[in-house]
Amino acid sequence: MMEPQGKEQGTPDRLTKTQEMVYELTVGEVMASKMVTVGPDQSMSEFRLLLRDNHISGTPVVENGKLVGMVSIEDLINALYDNAISAPIRERMKSKVECLYVDELLVHCIAKFSKLGYRRYPVLNRNDELVGIITKGSIVEGLLKKLEIEYEQSEKKAALTRQRPTMKKFFEDVTADEISFTFRYNVAGQDLKEAGKAASELKNALKKMGICAPLLRRIGVATYEAEINLASYTKGGEIRAQVEKWGIIVEAIDKGPGIPDIERAMQPGFSTAPEWVRELGFGAGMGLANMKKCADEMELKSSVPDGTHLTMQFHYTS
């Protein structure tokens, strides 16, 4: 039976995955249930055509739903040799047949293959009805399929449990006099069509760096609002994000026209949005308030007509 083959050096003597699987899989799980059968009264020459057309080398012989024998290419060669190609299959088949049961473990089946040397075995259910056929090929196929399923499952599990290295951990592990990651995105003014792109690109980049989802969401929303402001009210500008040891800084810097009254601009509901911005569902005077809610720290500096510089800080939570 399944003896450990080719033991690897240094590894303890333990069951391999394949050896484990032959104790889990049943004959029924790997057998082919779709098969070609013949009747005992068909001739050997008919059997020859059947082999040719189906690319097989043997098949069960069935009479009134019951298995009565097995016939193979070997029987065909013998019939040719005996000049008995027209003889009914009944006379040339093997009627003493070794069978396997559908609920037997694969390990028993493999033992039978190596002990008896037949190339295929009919598979019966416990009512002795023929339900399938098993060959070495179907065993290999069955094992591979099971391996594939288990591999996929373990991959999925690994993906779920895989700990992304957090940026905090990264900074702990790496030493330099100065480390900085900066992301910079240009944002066009007076155009809301492309607005949101920088925020989502930044969010993707930070996600790849292992920033956790809740923080990522806050940064995404705040950056999106900042970007909408650049696109709605300014002559254009840029979004800059810097990844630091303690957290992330997002800046929105524009080229004007600047905010005359910052205090007023910060009030929820206050807006100077033009009609085209309002039509798109923006300009309700909530943007800055939203950003303030998302960020841990926010600073807004502006001078007319040079432009506005918004700085938001987000701290790592874990």
Binding site: R217, V221, E225, K293
Partner: protein, 113 residues
């Protein structure tokens, strides 16, 4: 409840993201102010709006919404549908008004977050 259940029950026309109708709907939110949605909609909620431009997809994506329903048979812009496909955000359309649709969603068990 999943989006697909609502699509069936209310005969919603799926305009984009048809591969993601098994998204779980954890609640609902109605607003035509994008900043309001950004501020108040929660993860997994279904958003009812009349906006058809592509910024709605960005908002839904940033907030992790389960989907968007456009009311009054409004047709999303081509860019909006393309972006929704890219960002995996389902967009559905109903002929009902927002008031009518929300009433029925509520009756079906969807609650405000």
């Amino acid at each position: 409840m999943k989006l697909i259940d609502l699509v069936k029950e209310f005969g919603l026309e799926v305009k984009a993201g048809s591969g993601h109708l098994d998204n779980d709907v954890t609640g609902g939110y109605v607003s035509d102010l994008l900043s309001d949605v950004l501020a108040h909609a929660e993860d997994g909620v279904l958003w009812v709006t009349l906006h058809i431009h592509q910024n709605i997809v960005a908002v839904a994506s940033h907030k992790g919404l389960s989907g968007i329903i456009l009311v009054q048979g409004r047709v999303p812009e081509q860019d909006t549908m393309a972006k929704a496909e890219a960002e995996n955000i389902p967009i559905m359309v109903t002929d009902l008004s927002a008031f009518e649709l929300v009433g029925r969603l509520y009756k079906a068990g969807i609650r405000g977050a």
